[in-house]
Symmetry: C2
Subunit: 519 residues, 2 copies
Amino acid sequence: MPNVADLGLVPQPARVSLGEGRIRLSDASEVLRRIDTALPAEGYVLDVGVGGVRLRAGGTAGLFYGEQTLLQLLPPERLSSPTLARALARGPVDLPVVRIEDEPAYPWRGFMLDVARHFFPVGFILRMIDQLAAHKLNVLHLHLTDDQGWRIPIPGYPRLTEVGGWRAGTVIGFDSPHGDSGHDDHVHDERPHGGAYTRADLERIVAYAAERHIRVLPEVDFPGHVGAAIAAYPELGNGAMPDVRTRWGISQHILNLEDSTLRFVQAVLDEVMDIFPGAYVHGGGDEVPKREWRESAAVQRRRIELGIADEEELQGWFTAQIDRMIRTRGRRLVAWDEVVTGGAPKDTLVMAWRTSGYGVNAALQGYDVVMSPSEYVYLDHRQSTNPDEPVTFPDSPLPLARVFEFEPVPEELRAAYGTPGCGRVLGGQVHLWSEYVPNERHAEYMTFPRLCAFAEAVWRAPLAPGGYRDFPDFHRRVSSHMARLRAAGMSYREFDTSSAFLELEQVPPERRPLLTGGR
Amino acid sequence: MPNVADLGLVPQPARVSLGEGRIRLSDASEVLRRIDTALPAEGYVLDVGVGGVRLRAGGTAGLFYGEQTLLQLLPPERLSSPTLARALARGPVDLPVVRIEDEPAYPWRGFMLDVARHFFPVGFILRMIDQLAAHKLNVLHLHLTDDQGWRIPIPGYPRLTEVGGWRAGTVIGFDSPHGDSGHDDHVHDERPHGGAYTRADLERIVAYAAERHIRVLPEVDFPGHVGAAIAAYPELGNGAMPDVRTRWGISQHILNLEDSTLRFVQAVLDEVMDIFPGAYVHGGGDEVPKREWRESAAVQRRRIELGIADEEELQGWFTAQIDRMIRTRGRRLVAWDEVVTGGAPKDTLVMAWRTSGYGVNAALQGYDVVMSPSEYVYLDHRQSTNPDEPVTFPDSPLPLARVFEFEPVPEELRAAYGTPGCGRVLGGQVHLWSEYVPNERHAEYMTFPRLCAFAEAVWRAPLAPGGYRDFPDFHRRVSSHMARLRAAGMSYREFDTSSAFLELEQVPPERRPLLTGGR
């Protein structure tokens, strides 16, 4: 008789009771669906039994998640189609008798794709949306602009994509993320890289995601990470005439504070809010080198005029300008955790990326927080210390088991707010920065199976005091789950012995699974 | 002392004399370049000797090809940059003393990429252009429209890309290319696939190619293979209301012959000629199922009005309309070999794809011909009978050795025209149809190293009577050459034992290289 782990459900539902026998399902219309407002909006109860297949949920999102779980009860090869109707079109299936009661622990379960460092085609994004849905995630954050590329057309500023959408080449191999040498003697590949979405493309993404209960969070990064915009329109900067950046790391060139530049920012945000209907808009705010502001007479005049003490506070003022533009249209600002230093408005949603400590700090100051700490959820870090791993940051490997350990609410906050209350932490986000991710297949390799571990981390309840996370159980489930990724055509990373050992360094010896033989 | 094969030059130059010793080259400016109009326009003489590095050529294309050969004399890892200046920026190199006299045998050396069945991003096309240039090819043929997708925006017809640029899904696995069952009960993956270039994208491709002496041949396929256009504008068809096709094979839906449809064709060709400045425009003409024309009262009225006997001749009339539209602007029509049957104008350039026999037939009828016979140059066929090869057509593997055997001028024509005269054969083209090529990495795998063999086949002189092609020599050179592909970041297909055996079935036993050990 099978046990629950044999079902290979990912993320693991809150409660699963496995019965005996199997029930035939021939058509999606045989599934009895009902909204039951007593359940949470994203929660559901799935009953496969003698009475057939019944699905109750608190809302349409819950019905959708119930169907995602039901799909995982099908033979994995059926998952080459992401909907039950089409998966069953190939013939009836026998489902195990089971009752599943489920609901997510966190309302914000996000995935960020950096389409600025490398451009990814719309078709790829739609395929990823299918996978986010299959893993019950509900936010797709698109990082649309950066020093190395600008991907969203803005009316009145055609050069943003025509010039800012293309760079002359890409640095070869690993490139230090720290600062800028001023002169540019690195070797790049001389292969132009670029691209931009059309408004219709972005609307297609938004609509496709919405049908799958995923909101798209657009990010335009200001006032730093704007090298591509300044390459297109040097008048936005502080006197420099840069090209679209061909190496990684942070450009020193940031926005000036002229009224015309603020009008540009307004135009960008207006177009963003026209295309993306969601409640949130991400305004960036990370890694803003202040040298140009210190050295610019115009910026210093503005600072004094505004009665502002220093450049950190000046970023706070800038954040407040963006916040006002967004708030006027009834939206809410999301920004990277750096904005806390400058004193961002208190209803800014802070995305904590540097370490979870910055998220704790923001939450304790009264900000709502989404946790995306690099030490747990940065998928651009390599998956093992195996020398065959592709080029990436040279240190800090992020093995599967580490992602699995991710707790959106760290110990310090649990102490402050009590368990299971999440306090101000809305959830978590996993990030795929794409400096070292040049194409779709590579993106899939970096994303899977680590996304599976992340999906589990933001779905499951916070760790009870004295509890532990059962990685071997997850490892076993995700091993089965890979057949679903394979059916969906995803180029996930296979387990290998060296990486498995690294993953297992995180696991107490007595709980390590056998690595060879069997499953 | 090294021999010529050790240089691993691909394509092999016409004459190579290897001397002794090595010469240091530190900077691209040290290469003495000179135009010598006594040489053929694409020919060059490269001298690396005590006098330094000297390059003479018949024209700028010859200088460019001389530089491509010079780049192959560098350590392969330098080829991560495609230009000499940048490759030398990493430090001086010691070149072997060598004299190379070289010129291509055929003026048309093409590569076709099908961007209709799967959309490929601009950045990928630019990277492929670099590789075409490195292999001394000079035509990039883009198959821009088909039943499964329309990729070029046409003013006045926005739905061509908005609707025709996207399909609801893609059939899973192998799908018979033969005909249409009428009803559509196949299983597709429900993942929308699509995309379209902007005019600026296409202009970028044209300019980038031109700098590398590559002309871009645009193809818009009429009057069949227009399912995506009819999905966007059903009034172009004969009453059917199809969706953009989600399976492979040929749609039964073709253009009607209304004046408004001919105006549409004119608008498409006008935009194509505005964007693509080359002398040739490809108008398709392949695989036109005539059923709709036979069954349409309107088409039959038109046929009788025109005094035309049957539907084959009707296609000839249609081809003549396209020809006129193109000729008016001083361009020349290229079409698939089917148009010969309908009696296409005699200065149509015929692209022979079905077998080389159709090319022979066209040439003997007085057409200029580009040879691209499926049995030698269809890169969508699998590379070995190894069951691990990705899904493709189930029969007709096309191993490397088979591509290497390709002779643009077949025996029959050599008999008719004499050797080495090529008669009416301008050269050859290799085709990457993309039904089973879903992404960039996959496209690279299907293309390399077979493109290397093709490049050699269209560069080298026609086979002398009683001569033979030395595949083991090529195999050895291409083995070294792979390090260049690797440096350039191409996902070429590695040799493996099973495929090597298959490749060697083409080679007489006494000439087979050792497969294991050494090089």
